[in-house]
């Protein structure tokens, strides 16, 4: 696409792009997640060995990313629902979006240690 033909949408458009991207991401993750959990039917060892790989720093970080995606999708999803069903929703969509982002940042910061403690512990020790 020749440069400049991008549409410079505003908050509403970019939040939708993010919502869509995170939605698709979660969907694919979910497929994998059900598969790995299904291993509990195969044998405890198989399950535990897969879960073990989840505890590596790389996957742990991805987990953090996934949480970020789910959190954003969930919060923004609530915003979309508010736009749909609350008559003043469209008017306050931007304020709601910034609240979503704000809440998301807070929650992500709060869960930083909790989710990544495993990695932090491996890397930096106690």
């Amino acid at each position: 696409m020749p440069a400049g033909t991008l549409y410079r949408g505003r908050e509403g458009m970019w939040s939708w792009v993010a919502h869509r991207v995170t939605g698709v991401l979660i969907f694919f993750f979910l497929l994998v997640h059900v598969l790995d959990t299904a291993l509990v039917r195969v044998s405890p060892q198989a399950y535990d060995s897969v879960i073990q790989t989840y505890k590596t720093p790389v996957v742990n970080l991805m987990e953090y990313g996934l949480t970020a995606a789910i959190l954003f999708h969930a919060l923004n999803g609530l915003r979309v629902i508010a736009v749909d069903f609350w008559s003043k929703g469209p008017k306050y969509q931007k304020q709601m979006l910034w609240s979503v982002v704000g809440l998301w940042v807070v929650l992500m910061a709060a869960s930083f240690y909790h989710i990544l403690q495993h990695t932090l512990l491996t890397w930096f020790g106690k």
């Binding site: 020749p2 400049g4 033909t5 549409y7 505003r10 509403g12 458009m13 008017k91």
Partner: protein, 258 residues
């Protein structure tokens, strides 16, 4: 004879508006030109202009056409935002060229101008509007009533009139529809303008065709395709709360009571 005078001091804005001796600026207008008779691919062309920053982008286009390159092609008529001819993408966003002052689109940088998205580009800034109008026609945008006509006007309270006021302002400029990401993806979606057109009648207390129109918009390509991206509301030069109108139609469909 009493001659009431205005004693309010001149505001700075009024002084600015009336100031003599305009400060001209020189800037670049970057237009995405496309003329299939000459070249099958679109190209960006830069034009240097010196103008009063309080003039409109349409004035700048006119200046290019009249003084530099007569082949530049675009639609325009009223030149004050009332006819809907000149929706185009200015600095990446849909606007009416005649309602956009140069000073408001940062003339320090090149100002980019290109055709609206999602409709076939025929030449320069001219797109094929027929699919757009077809979608509008498809929602039956005319008053539908049953029974005998009254001899005088139909009565309508001021509140009932106010209910659909916002969507009567539409000038069918297509700025909204061509800003909608769902519409770009495939031209099948009815698009916000058609829904605005339907809304204007669905919420008119005199109209009795709301049910039919709702049924039309209940289509696979109807209101449900809207992803609430708000590009339409941002783009509308008439300040119509387009997304809100769409949501009202959705809610009317869900409740089917209005």
């Amino acid at each position: 004879m009493s001659a009431p005078t205005i004693d309010a001091p001149h505001s700075a804005a009024l002084d600015a508006a009336e100031a003599g001796g305009v400060q001209m600026i020189t800037f670049t207008l970057r237009i995405r030109r496309f003329n299939p008779e000459e070249h099958p691919e679109p190209v960006w062309v830069d034009y240097q202009l010196t103008m009063d920053p309080k003039e409109r982008v349409l004035d700048a286009l006119n200046k290019v056409k009249w003084e530099q390159d007569g082949t530049l092609t675009y639609r325009r008529s009223c030149a004050h935002g009332i006819c809907g001819s000149d929706a185009m993408r200015i600095n990446g966003r849909n606007r009416l060229a005649c309602k956009t002052l140069l000073k408001d689109v940062n003339p320090e940088q090149p100002i980019t101008v290109e055709a609206i998205k999602g409709l076939a580009v025929l030449k320069d800034l001219v797109v094929d509007m027929d699919p757009f109008f077809q979608a509008y026609k498809d929602v039956m945008p005319f008053l539908i009533t049953k029974g005998n006509e009254p001899t005088r006007e139909r009565l309508q309270s001021a509140e009932d009139r106010e209910r659909f006021d916002d969507t009567t302002k539409c000038i069918l400029c297509a700025a909204c529809t061509s800003s909608c990401p769902v519409f770009w993806n495939d031209g099948q979606y009815f698009g916000p303008a058609a829904i605005v057109g339907a809304h204007r009648f669905i919420f008119d207390s005199r109209d009795e065709g709301g049910e039919q129109r709702l049924e039309i918009l209940n289509d696979r390509e109807g209101v449900w395709r809207c992803r609430t991206t708000f590009n339409c509301s941002e783009a509308c030069p008439r300040g119509i709360e387009v997304t809100k109108a769409i949501q009202e139609v959705k809610r009317a469909l869900v409740t089917r009571r209005f």
